[in-house]
Protein backbone atom coordinates (compact mmCIF):
# COMPACT_ATOMS: atom_id res chain seq x y z
CA UNK A 1 0.00 0.00 0.00
CA UNK A 2 2.63 2.41 1.10
CA UNK A 3 5.23 2.05 -1.61
CA UNK A 4 3.71 3.94 -4.56
CA UNK A 5 3.43 7.02 -2.40
CA UNK A 6 6.99 7.26 -1.04
CA UNK A 7 7.78 10.53 -2.76
CA UNK A 8 4.48 11.98 -1.65
CA UNK A 9 5.07 10.63 1.85
CA UNK A 10 8.44 12.34 2.03
CA UNK A 11 6.99 15.60 0.85
CA UNK A 12 3.91 15.32 3.03
CA UNK A 13 5.15 17.07 6.19
CA UNK A 14 6.27 20.04 4.10
CA UNK A 15 2.82 20.34 2.58
CA UNK A 16 1.41 20.55 6.10
CA UNK A 17 3.71 23.38 7.12
CA UNK A 18 3.52 25.14 3.76
CA UNK A 19 0.57 27.51 4.47
CA UNK A 20 2.25 28.69 7.64
CA UNK A 21 5.58 29.21 5.87
CA UNK A 22 3.94 31.17 3.05
CA UNK A 23 2.07 33.40 5.51
CA UNK A 24 5.14 34.14 7.61
CA UNK A 25 7.39 34.56 4.58
CA UNK A 26 5.26 37.22 2.94
CA UNK A 27 4.44 39.23 6.04
CA UNK A 28 7.50 38.72 8.26
CA UNK A 29 10.49 37.40 6.30
CA UNK A 30 10.15 39.67 3.25
CA UNK A 31 9.70 42.77 5.46
CA UNK A 32 12.83 41.69 7.38
CA UNK A 33 14.65 41.46 4.06
CA UNK A 34 13.39 44.92 3.04
CA UNK A 35 14.51 46.41 6.35
CA UNK A 36 17.99 44.90 6.11
CA UNK A 37 18.35 46.07 2.52
CA UNK A 38 17.11 49.57 3.32
CA UNK A 39 19.54 49.78 6.21
CA UNK A 40 22.43 49.63 3.74
CA UNK A 41 20.73 51.62 0.98
CA UNK A 42 20.18 55.22 0.20
CA UNK A 43 16.50 55.92 0.70
CA UNK A 44 14.85 59.11 -0.50
CA UNK A 45 12.44 61.11 1.63
CA UNK A 46 9.56 59.61 -0.31
CA UNK A 47 10.77 56.13 0.57
CA UNK A 48 12.31 55.20 -2.80
CA UNK A 49 15.26 52.84 -2.40
CA UNK A 50 18.14 54.13 -4.54
CA UNK A 51 21.46 52.29 -4.35
CA UNK A 52 23.52 50.40 -1.81
CA UNK A 53 25.65 52.77 0.22
CA UNK A 54 27.19 50.34 2.68
CA UNK A 55 27.07 51.23 6.35
CA UNK A 56 26.52 54.98 5.95
CA UNK A 57 23.07 54.80 7.56
CA UNK A 58 24.56 53.02 10.56
CA UNK A 59 27.33 55.62 10.79
CA UNK A 60 24.76 58.42 10.72
CA UNK A 61 22.66 56.75 13.40
CA UNK A 62 25.55 55.86 15.67
CA UNK A 63 27.12 59.31 15.42
CA UNK A 64 23.75 61.01 16.04
CA UNK A 65 23.78 63.12 19.20
CA UNK A 66 20.59 61.50 20.52
CA UNK A 67 21.34 57.86 19.82
CA UNK A 68 23.42 57.13 22.93
CA UNK A 69 20.67 58.51 25.15
CA UNK A 70 17.95 56.57 23.31
CA UNK A 71 19.95 53.38 23.64
CA UNK A 72 20.50 53.99 27.34
CA UNK A 73 16.77 54.65 27.79
CA UNK A 74 15.95 51.40 26.00
CA UNK A 75 18.28 49.41 28.26
CA UNK A 76 16.95 51.11 31.41
CA UNK A 77 13.37 50.56 30.26
CA UNK A 78 13.89 46.88 29.41
CA UNK A 79 15.93 45.98 32.50
CA UNK A 80 13.66 47.74 35.01
CA UNK A 81 10.42 46.49 33.51
CA UNK A 82 11.58 42.89 33.03
CA UNK A 83 13.38 42.52 36.38
CA UNK A 84 10.80 44.23 38.56
CA UNK A 85 7.80 42.65 36.87
CA UNK A 86 9.42 39.23 37.20
CA UNK A 87 10.12 39.69 40.92
CA UNK A 88 6.72 41.22 41.68
CA UNK A 89 4.85 38.79 39.43
CA UNK A 90 6.53 35.87 41.15
CA UNK A 91 5.70 37.18 44.62
CA UNK A 92 2.09 37.70 43.55
CA UNK A 93 2.02 34.13 42.21
CA UNK A 94 3.30 32.84 45.57
CA UNK A 95 0.48 34.72 47.29
CA UNK A 96 -2.18 33.47 44.89
CA UNK A 97 -0.89 29.92 45.21
CA UNK A 98 -2.29 29.81 48.77
CA UNK A 99 -5.74 28.40 49.36
CA UNK A 100 -8.01 31.19 50.51
CA UNK A 101 -11.54 32.40 50.03
CA UNK A 102 -11.87 34.74 47.08
CA UNK A 103 -8.82 33.40 45.27
CA UNK A 104 -10.82 33.02 42.08
CA UNK A 105 -11.87 36.66 42.26
CA UNK A 106 -8.28 37.75 42.84
CA UNK A 107 -7.12 35.74 39.82
CA UNK A 108 -9.85 37.28 37.69
CA UNK A 109 -8.76 40.75 38.76
CA UNK A 110 -5.13 40.08 37.89
CA UNK A 111 -6.27 39.20 34.35
CA UNK A 112 -7.44 42.77 33.72
CA UNK A 113 -4.13 44.46 32.82
CA UNK A 114 -3.12 41.53 30.63
CA UNK A 115 -6.32 41.63 28.60
CA UNK A 116 -6.49 45.39 28.21
CA UNK A 117 -4.89 46.94 25.18
CA UNK A 118 -1.72 48.86 26.07
CA UNK A 119 -2.78 52.09 24.42
CA UNK A 120 -5.81 52.38 26.70
CA UNK A 121 -3.86 51.54 29.86
CA UNK A 122 -1.28 54.12 28.94
CA UNK A 123 -4.00 56.75 28.39
CA UNK A 124 -5.42 56.11 31.85
CA UNK A 125 -2.01 56.43 33.50
CA UNK A 126 -1.42 59.63 31.57
CA UNK A 127 -4.65 60.93 33.05
CA UNK A 128 -3.87 59.68 36.56
CA UNK A 129 -0.54 61.51 36.84
CA UNK A 130 -1.64 64.79 35.28
CA UNK A 131 -0.67 67.70 37.50
CA UNK A 132 -3.76 69.86 36.99
CA UNK A 133 -6.65 67.44 37.03
CA UNK A 134 -5.05 63.99 37.47
CA UNK A 135 -6.88 61.53 39.66
CA UNK A 136 -3.85 60.62 41.79
CA UNK A 137 -3.80 64.16 43.16
CA UNK A 138 -7.58 64.09 43.64
CA UNK A 139 -7.35 60.81 45.51
CA UNK A 140 -4.52 61.92 47.78
CA UNK A 141 -6.23 65.24 48.50
CA UNK A 142 -9.47 63.49 49.37
CA UNK A 143 -7.61 61.15 51.70
CA UNK A 144 -5.93 64.18 53.27
CA UNK A 145 -2.41 62.99 52.45
CA UNK A 146 -1.54 66.09 50.41
CA UNK A 147 -3.05 69.55 50.57
CA UNK A 148 -2.23 70.88 47.12
CA UNK A 149 -1.51 69.32 43.73
CA UNK A 150 1.82 67.55 43.43
CA UNK A 151 3.69 67.63 40.14
CA UNK A 152 4.40 63.94 39.59
CA UNK A 153 6.33 64.59 36.44
CA UNK A 154 8.66 67.54 37.05
CA UNK A 155 11.38 66.21 34.74
CA UNK A 156 11.56 64.01 31.63
CA UNK A 157 13.23 61.40 33.84
CA UNK A 158 10.17 61.40 36.11
CA UNK A 159 7.93 60.92 33.08
CA UNK A 160 10.11 58.03 32.01
CA UNK A 161 9.93 56.49 35.48
CA UNK A 162 6.11 56.58 35.28
CA UNK A 163 6.28 54.93 31.88
CA UNK A 164 8.44 52.20 33.42
CA UNK A 165 5.93 51.83 36.27
CA UNK A 166 3.15 51.47 33.72
CA UNK A 167 5.22 48.89 31.85
CA UNK A 168 5.72 46.91 35.06
CA UNK A 169 2.04 47.15 35.88
CA UNK A 170 0.96 45.64 32.57
CA UNK A 171 3.66 42.95 32.53
CA UNK A 172 3.08 41.54 36.03
CA UNK A 173 0.00 39.43 35.13
CA UNK A 174 1.83 37.51 32.43
CA UNK A 175 4.70 36.63 34.79
CA UNK A 176 2.28 35.91 37.62
CA UNK A 177 0.22 33.43 35.62
CA UNK A 178 3.16 31.60 34.09
CA UNK A 179 4.75 31.30 37.55
CA UNK A 180 1.43 30.19 38.97
CA UNK A 181 1.04 27.38 36.45
CA UNK A 182 4.61 26.33 37.30
CA UNK A 183 3.85 26.44 41.04
CA UNK A 184 0.74 24.36 40.65
CA UNK A 185 2.59 21.62 38.82
CA UNK A 186 5.00 21.11 41.74
CA UNK A 187 4.37 17.76 43.43
CA UNK A 188 3.35 18.32 47.04
CA UNK A 189 5.44 15.32 48.16
CA UNK A 190 8.56 17.51 47.86
CA UNK A 191 7.18 19.85 50.49
CA UNK A 192 6.04 17.00 52.71
CA UNK A 193 9.56 15.56 52.64
CA UNK A 194 11.02 18.99 53.40
CA UNK A 195 8.68 19.42 56.37
CA UNK A 196 9.79 16.05 57.72
CA UNK A 197 13.38 17.27 57.40
CA UNK A 198 12.43 20.37 59.36
CA UNK A 199 12.91 22.92 56.59
CA UNK A 200 11.55 26.42 57.23
CA UNK A 201 9.59 28.58 54.77
CA UNK A 202 12.63 30.23 53.18
CA UNK A 203 14.52 26.98 52.81
CA UNK A 204 11.52 25.46 51.04
CA UNK A 205 11.23 28.56 48.83
CA UNK A 206 14.87 28.62 47.73
CA UNK A 207 15.52 24.87 47.56
CA UNK A 208 12.27 23.58 46.13
CA UNK A 209 9.96 26.27 44.78
CA UNK A 210 12.36 28.51 42.88
CA UNK A 211 14.37 25.74 41.16
CA UNK A 212 11.17 24.01 40.05
CA UNK A 213 9.44 27.15 38.80
CA UNK A 214 12.54 28.31 36.96
CA UNK A 215 11.80 26.64 33.60
CA UNK A 216 8.42 28.42 33.38
CA UNK A 217 9.96 31.68 34.50
CA UNK A 218 12.76 31.37 31.94
CA UNK A 219 10.26 31.10 29.11
CA UNK A 220 8.33 34.07 30.48
CA UNK A 221 11.49 36.14 30.87
CA UNK A 222 12.79 35.51 27.36
CA UNK A 223 9.41 36.46 25.88
CA UNK A 224 9.26 39.49 28.15
CA UNK A 225 12.71 40.73 27.14
CA UNK A 226 11.60 40.63 23.51
CA UNK A 227 8.19 42.24 24.07
CA UNK A 228 9.31 44.93 26.46
CA UNK A 229 12.30 45.89 24.33
CA UNK A 230 9.98 46.27 21.33
CA UNK A 231 7.09 47.84 23.22
CA UNK A 232 5.74 50.94 21.56
CA UNK A 233 2.28 52.05 22.81
CA UNK A 234 3.14 53.06 26.40
CA UNK A 235 5.90 55.54 25.62
CA UNK A 236 4.08 56.69 22.51
CA UNK A 237 0.85 57.45 24.34
CA UNK A 238 2.32 59.12 27.40
CA UNK A 239 5.15 61.27 26.02
CA UNK A 240 5.78 60.33 22.35
CA UNK A 241 9.44 60.19 23.41
CA UNK A 242 9.47 63.96 24.02
CA UNK A 243 10.84 66.36 25.19
CA UNK A 244 13.82 66.28 22.83
CA UNK A 245 14.02 62.46 22.66
CA UNK A 246 14.67 62.25 26.39
CA UNK A 247 12.03 59.56 26.91
CA UNK A 248 12.51 57.83 23.56
CA UNK A 249 13.29 54.14 23.29
CA UNK A 250 14.61 52.55 20.08
CA UNK A 251 11.16 51.74 18.71
CA UNK A 252 9.64 55.19 19.23
CA UNK A 253 12.86 56.75 17.91
CA UNK A 254 12.79 54.69 14.74
CA UNK A 255 9.06 55.33 14.25
CA UNK A 256 9.71 59.06 14.31
CA UNK A 257 12.74 58.73 12.01
CA UNK A 258 10.70 56.76 9.49
CA UNK A 259 7.32 58.43 9.54
CA UNK A 260 7.96 61.97 10.83
CA UNK A 261 11.45 62.82 9.56
CA UNK A 262 11.48 60.84 6.31
CA UNK A 263 14.74 59.11 7.17
CA UNK A 264 13.72 55.54 6.38
CA UNK A 265 17.26 54.36 5.73
CA UNK A 266 18.37 55.42 9.19
CA UNK A 267 15.20 54.01 10.73
CA UNK A 268 15.97 50.67 9.09
CA UNK A 269 19.49 50.82 10.55
CA UNK A 270 18.00 51.37 14.02
CA UNK A 271 15.76 48.33 13.46
CA UNK A 272 18.75 46.18 12.58
CA UNK A 273 20.73 47.43 15.60
CA UNK A 274 17.76 46.67 17.86
CA UNK A 275 17.41 43.18 16.41
CA UNK A 276 21.10 42.42 16.91
CA UNK A 277 21.00 43.59 20.55
CA UNK A 278 17.92 41.50 21.18
CA UNK A 279 19.39 38.44 19.49
CA UNK A 280 22.54 38.66 21.60
CA UNK A 281 20.65 39.27 24.88
CA UNK A 282 18.07 36.54 24.32
CA UNK A 283 20.62 33.93 23.28
CA UNK A 284 23.03 34.79 26.11
CA UNK A 285 20.18 34.55 28.58
CA UNK A 286 18.86 31.30 27.14
CA UNK A 287 22.30 29.66 26.94
CA UNK A 288 23.24 30.69 30.48
CA UNK A 289 19.99 29.50 32.05
CA UNK A 290 20.00 26.27 30.07
CA UNK A 291 23.57 25.59 31.19
CA UNK A 292 22.71 26.27 34.80
CA UNK A 293 19.80 23.89 34.46
CA UNK A 294 22.12 21.12 33.27
CA UNK A 295 24.51 21.39 36.21
Amino acid sequence: MKKPYTLLNKAEPYLWILPSIILMSIFIIIPIGFVFRMSISQVTKAGLVKGIIGFKNFEKVLSGAKFGMVLKNTVVWTVYVVVLSTVLGFILALLLNNEFKGRKIARAIVVFPWATTLVIQASVWKFIINIDYGSLNTLLKTLGIISSNVNWTPTPEAFFAWEIACGIFVTIPFVCFTALSGLQSIDSSYYEAAIVDGANYWQKLFNITIPLVKPSLTVATVLNIIYVFNSFPIVWTITKGDPANRTDTLVTYLYKLAFYNGKQGEAAAVSVIGFLILLVCASVYMVSTLKKGDE
Binding site: G47, T116, Y227, P233, L279
Partner: protein, 284 residues
Protein backbone atom coordinates in the same frame (compact mmCIF):
# COMPACT_ATOMS: atom_id res chain seq x y z
CA UNK B 1 1.45 21.46 74.61
CA UNK B 2 -1.67 23.58 74.66
CA UNK B 3 0.38 26.73 74.84
CA UNK B 4 2.45 25.62 71.88
CA UNK B 5 -0.51 24.84 69.64
CA UNK B 6 -2.14 28.09 70.64
CA UNK B 7 0.98 29.92 69.50
CA UNK B 8 0.95 28.11 66.16
CA UNK B 9 -2.70 28.98 65.59
CA UNK B 10 -2.00 32.57 66.46
CA UNK B 11 0.84 32.64 63.94
CA UNK B 12 -1.34 31.05 61.31
CA UNK B 13 -4.12 33.53 61.91
CA UNK B 14 -1.68 36.40 61.61
CA UNK B 15 -0.25 35.13 58.32
CA UNK B 16 -3.80 34.63 57.05
CA UNK B 17 -4.74 38.21 57.89
CA UNK B 18 -1.53 39.43 56.29
CA UNK B 19 -2.28 37.40 53.15
CA UNK B 20 -5.77 38.86 52.84
CA UNK B 21 -4.45 42.34 53.47
CA UNK B 22 -1.68 42.15 50.85
CA UNK B 23 -3.86 40.46 48.22
CA UNK B 24 -6.67 42.99 48.69
CA UNK B 25 -4.20 45.84 48.47
CA UNK B 26 -2.77 44.49 45.21
CA UNK B 27 -6.26 43.98 43.79
CA UNK B 28 -7.19 47.56 44.66
CA UNK B 29 -4.04 48.88 42.96
CA UNK B 30 -4.74 46.77 39.87
CA UNK B 31 -8.35 47.92 39.70
CA UNK B 32 -7.53 51.57 40.39
CA UNK B 33 -6.98 52.57 36.73
CA UNK B 34 -10.27 50.89 35.85
CA UNK B 35 -12.11 52.82 38.57
CA UNK B 36 -10.56 55.99 37.25
CA UNK B 37 -11.57 55.13 33.72
CA UNK B 38 -15.14 54.31 34.68
CA UNK B 39 -15.70 57.29 36.99
CA UNK B 40 -14.10 59.73 34.57
CA UNK B 41 -16.26 58.40 31.75
CA UNK B 42 -19.24 59.46 33.88
CA UNK B 43 -18.12 63.04 34.51
CA UNK B 44 -18.82 66.14 32.50
CA UNK B 45 -15.96 67.90 30.76
CA UNK B 46 -16.20 70.86 33.14
CA UNK B 47 -16.02 68.61 36.15
CA UNK B 48 -12.93 66.78 34.90
CA UNK B 49 -11.01 70.02 34.41
CA UNK B 50 -12.34 71.70 37.54
CA UNK B 51 -9.53 72.73 39.92
CA UNK B 52 -11.00 70.92 42.91
CA UNK B 53 -12.03 67.61 41.48
CA UNK B 54 -13.74 64.82 43.35
CA UNK B 55 -13.28 61.08 43.09
CA UNK B 56 -16.90 60.38 42.24
CA UNK B 57 -18.83 62.44 39.69
CA UNK B 58 -21.05 65.13 41.19
CA UNK B 59 -23.45 64.62 38.32
CA UNK B 60 -23.44 61.13 36.85
CA UNK B 61 -23.31 61.64 33.09
CA UNK B 62 -24.59 58.29 31.84
CA UNK B 63 -25.38 60.03 28.56
CA UNK B 64 -21.63 60.05 27.78
CA UNK B 65 -21.98 56.40 26.89
CA UNK B 66 -24.66 57.33 24.35
CA UNK B 67 -22.90 60.48 23.16
CA UNK B 68 -19.79 58.64 21.90
CA UNK B 69 -21.87 56.73 19.38
CA UNK B 70 -23.04 60.05 17.93
CA UNK B 71 -19.66 61.79 18.00
CA UNK B 72 -17.64 59.00 16.44
CA UNK B 73 -18.37 56.07 14.13
CA UNK B 74 -18.13 53.73 17.12
CA UNK B 75 -20.27 51.00 15.57
CA UNK B 76 -18.03 51.06 12.52
CA UNK B 77 -14.86 50.88 14.69
CA UNK B 78 -16.32 47.99 16.60
CA UNK B 79 -17.28 46.15 13.45
CA UNK B 80 -13.77 46.72 12.07
CA UNK B 81 -12.22 45.36 15.26
CA UNK B 82 -14.44 42.29 15.07
CA UNK B 83 -13.59 41.76 11.39
CA UNK B 84 -9.86 42.20 11.98
CA UNK B 85 -9.79 39.97 15.04
CA UNK B 86 -11.90 37.16 13.59
CA UNK B 87 -10.24 37.31 10.16
CA UNK B 88 -6.77 37.16 11.73
CA UNK B 89 -7.82 34.30 13.99
CA UNK B 90 -9.29 32.32 11.08
CA UNK B 91 -6.17 32.68 8.93
CA UNK B 92 -3.82 32.03 11.86
CA UNK B 93 -5.68 28.82 12.68
CA UNK B 94 -6.00 27.58 9.08
CA UNK B 95 -2.24 27.95 8.62
CA UNK B 96 -1.26 27.05 12.19
CA UNK B 97 -3.24 23.83 12.78
CA UNK B 98 -1.59 21.81 9.98
CA UNK B 99 1.86 23.15 10.91
CA UNK B 100 1.39 22.28 14.57
CA UNK B 101 0.04 18.88 13.54
CA UNK B 102 3.11 18.17 11.41
CA UNK B 103 5.43 19.25 14.23
CA UNK B 104 3.63 17.11 16.79
CA UNK B 105 2.98 13.98 14.73
CA UNK B 106 5.61 13.70 11.99
CA UNK B 107 9.39 13.56 11.80
CA UNK B 108 11.00 15.42 8.96
CA UNK B 109 14.23 17.11 7.98
CA UNK B 110 14.32 20.74 8.94
CA UNK B 111 11.94 20.33 11.86
CA UNK B 112 14.28 22.03 14.32
CA UNK B 113 15.12 24.66 11.71
CA UNK B 114 11.41 25.43 11.39
CA UNK B 115 11.01 25.72 15.16
CA UNK B 116 14.08 27.99 15.31
CA UNK B 117 12.61 30.07 12.50
CA UNK B 118 9.42 30.48 14.53
CA UNK B 119 11.34 31.67 17.60
CA UNK B 120 13.47 34.14 15.63
CA UNK B 121 10.33 35.51 13.95
CA UNK B 122 9.17 36.46 17.46
CA UNK B 123 12.15 38.78 17.86
CA UNK B 124 10.78 41.13 15.27
CA UNK B 125 7.86 43.08 16.58
CA UNK B 126 5.72 44.58 13.84
CA UNK B 127 6.81 48.07 14.93
CA UNK B 128 10.45 47.30 14.11
CA UNK B 129 9.46 46.02 10.67
CA UNK B 130 6.89 48.71 9.88
CA UNK B 131 8.93 50.20 7.05
CA UNK B 132 9.35 46.77 5.47
CA UNK B 133 5.73 45.83 6.06
CA UNK B 134 4.64 49.07 4.46
CA UNK B 135 6.68 48.23 1.34
CA UNK B 136 5.14 44.75 1.10
CA UNK B 137 1.69 46.25 1.51
CA UNK B 138 2.38 48.69 -1.31
CA UNK B 139 3.40 45.83 -3.61
CA UNK B 140 0.28 43.82 -2.70
CA UNK B 141 -1.87 46.93 -2.89
CA UNK B 142 -3.04 46.35 0.69
CA UNK B 143 -2.06 49.60 2.39
CA UNK B 144 -4.96 51.21 4.16
CA UNK B 145 -7.06 48.04 4.02
CA UNK B 146 -8.60 45.70 6.56
CA UNK B 147 -7.33 42.68 4.67
CA UNK B 148 -3.74 43.85 5.02
CA UNK B 149 -4.10 44.22 8.78
CA UNK B 150 -5.73 40.79 8.98
CA UNK B 151 -2.79 39.13 7.22
CA UNK B 152 -0.20 40.91 9.37
CA UNK B 153 -1.94 40.01 12.62
CA UNK B 154 -2.29 36.42 11.47
CA UNK B 155 1.39 36.22 10.53
CA UNK B 156 2.70 37.76 13.74
CA UNK B 157 0.51 35.42 15.78
CA UNK B 158 1.67 32.31 13.92
CA UNK B 159 4.42 31.59 16.43
CA UNK B 160 2.00 31.56 19.36
CA UNK B 161 -0.59 29.57 17.43
CA UNK B 162 1.87 26.86 16.49
CA UNK B 163 3.52 26.88 19.92
CA UNK B 164 0.25 26.46 21.81
CA UNK B 165 -1.29 23.95 19.41
CA UNK B 166 1.83 21.81 19.15
CA UNK B 167 1.84 21.52 22.96
CA UNK B 168 -1.84 20.58 22.94
CA UNK B 169 -1.44 17.97 20.18
CA UNK B 170 1.64 16.46 21.81
CA UNK B 171 -0.21 16.00 25.08
CA UNK B 172 -2.76 13.80 23.26
CA UNK B 173 -1.82 10.19 22.53
CA UNK B 174 -1.48 9.35 18.82
CA UNK B 175 -2.85 5.85 19.30
CA UNK B 176 -6.45 6.66 18.40
CA UNK B 177 -5.39 8.31 15.15
CA UNK B 178 -3.18 5.37 14.27
CA UNK B 179 -6.08 3.00 14.86
CA UNK B 180 -8.25 5.16 12.62
CA UNK B 181 -5.64 5.09 9.84
CA UNK B 182 -5.62 1.30 9.97
CA UNK B 183 -9.40 1.42 9.59
CA UNK B 184 -8.91 3.27 6.34
CA UNK B 185 -8.95 6.93 7.36
CA UNK B 186 -6.33 9.13 5.78
CA UNK B 187 -4.33 11.60 7.84
CA UNK B 188 -6.58 14.55 7.18
CA UNK B 189 -9.68 12.60 8.14
CA UNK B 190 -7.95 11.23 11.25
CA UNK B 191 -7.01 14.75 12.29
CA UNK B 192 -10.47 16.20 11.75
CA UNK B 193 -12.45 13.29 13.20
CA UNK B 194 -10.26 12.27 16.11
CA UNK B 195 -7.52 14.71 17.11
CA UNK B 196 -9.32 18.02 16.72
CA UNK B 197 -12.40 17.12 18.80
CA UNK B 198 -10.16 15.87 21.62
CA UNK B 199 -7.94 18.94 21.33
CA UNK B 200 -10.94 21.30 21.31
CA UNK B 201 -10.22 22.97 24.68
CA UNK B 202 -6.64 23.79 23.60
CA UNK B 203 -7.85 24.98 20.22
CA UNK B 204 -10.48 27.25 21.76
CA UNK B 205 -7.85 28.71 24.12
CA UNK B 206 -5.52 29.43 21.21
CA UNK B 207 -8.34 30.87 19.15
CA UNK B 208 -9.43 33.28 21.85
CA UNK B 209 -5.86 34.31 22.61
CA UNK B 210 -5.17 35.19 18.97
CA UNK B 211 -8.52 37.01 18.77
CA UNK B 212 -7.61 39.13 21.80
CA UNK B 213 -4.14 39.90 20.48
CA UNK B 214 -5.53 41.04 17.15
CA UNK B 215 -8.31 43.01 18.85
CA UNK B 216 -5.77 44.83 21.02
CA UNK B 217 -3.25 45.55 18.25
CA UNK B 218 -2.49 49.24 17.91
CA UNK B 219 0.84 50.03 16.29
CA UNK B 220 0.42 48.51 12.82
CA UNK B 221 -3.13 49.77 12.52
CA UNK B 222 -1.98 53.27 13.52
CA UNK B 223 0.61 53.25 10.77
CA UNK B 224 -1.23 51.50 7.93
CA UNK B 225 -4.80 52.78 8.26
CA UNK B 226 -5.56 56.37 7.42
CA UNK B 227 -9.23 56.19 6.43
CA UNK B 228 -11.41 56.77 9.46
CA UNK B 229 -14.09 54.25 8.47
CA UNK B 230 -11.74 51.26 8.48
CA UNK B 231 -9.97 52.00 11.77
CA UNK B 232 -10.21 49.46 14.59
CA UNK B 233 -11.33 50.59 18.06
CA UNK B 234 -7.80 50.90 19.48
CA UNK B 235 -6.91 53.52 16.88
CA UNK B 236 -10.37 54.97 16.28
CA UNK B 237 -11.08 56.02 19.85
CA UNK B 238 -8.14 58.42 19.64
CA UNK B 239 -10.52 60.69 17.77
CA UNK B 240 -11.25 61.94 21.32
CA UNK B 241 -7.54 62.33 22.00
CA UNK B 242 -6.95 65.47 19.96
CA UNK B 243 -3.80 67.58 19.74
CA UNK B 244 -5.29 70.48 21.62
CA UNK B 245 -8.06 69.02 23.70
CA UNK B 246 -8.46 65.54 25.05
CA UNK B 247 -12.09 64.63 25.68
CA UNK B 248 -11.23 62.28 28.53
CA UNK B 249 -14.84 61.43 29.36
CA UNK B 250 -15.52 60.23 25.80
CA UNK B 251 -12.12 58.59 25.40
CA UNK B 252 -12.68 56.50 28.52
CA UNK B 253 -16.32 55.74 27.76
CA UNK B 254 -15.24 54.43 24.36
CA UNK B 255 -12.32 52.57 25.95
CA UNK B 256 -14.69 50.64 28.16
CA UNK B 257 -16.41 49.30 25.05
CA UNK B 258 -13.03 48.19 23.74
CA UNK B 259 -12.00 46.53 27.00
CA UNK B 260 -15.03 44.69 28.34
CA UNK B 261 -15.45 42.02 25.62
CA UNK B 262 -11.82 40.95 25.71
CA UNK B 263 -11.48 40.96 29.50
CA UNK B 264 -14.42 38.58 29.74
CA UNK B 265 -13.02 36.38 26.96
CA UNK B 266 -9.62 36.39 28.61
CA UNK B 267 -10.95 35.29 31.98
CA UNK B 268 -12.49 32.27 30.31
CA UNK B 269 -9.18 31.02 28.93
CA UNK B 270 -6.66 32.22 31.52
CA UNK B 271 -6.07 28.84 33.17
CA UNK B 272 -5.63 26.84 29.97
CA UNK B 273 -3.57 29.54 28.33
CA UNK B 274 -0.83 29.79 30.93
CA UNK B 275 -0.34 26.06 31.30
CA UNK B 276 -0.27 25.81 27.51
CA UNK B 277 2.34 28.54 27.13
CA UNK B 278 4.77 27.05 29.60
CA UNK B 279 4.13 23.44 28.54
CA UNK B 280 4.91 24.26 24.91
CA UNK B 281 8.06 26.07 26.00
CA UNK B 282 9.43 23.47 28.34
CA UNK B 283 8.83 20.64 25.93
CA UNK B 284 10.14 22.61 22.95
Amino acid sequence: MTLDSARINYGKLLSRILLYFVVSLICIVILYPYFVMFLTALKSREEIFAPNGTIFPKVWMWENFVEIWKRAPMAQYMLNSILIASGSTAIAMVCGIPAAYALARMKFKGQTAFLGFIIVSQMFAPVVLLIGIYKVMQVLNLTNSLLGLIFINAAFNQAFTIWLLRGTFMSISAEMEQAATIDGCNRVQAMFKILLPVAAPGIVTTLIFIFINAWNEFTVALCLISTDTIKPLTVGINIFNGYNIIEWQYLFAASIFAIVPVVILFMSIEKNLTSGLTAGGVKG
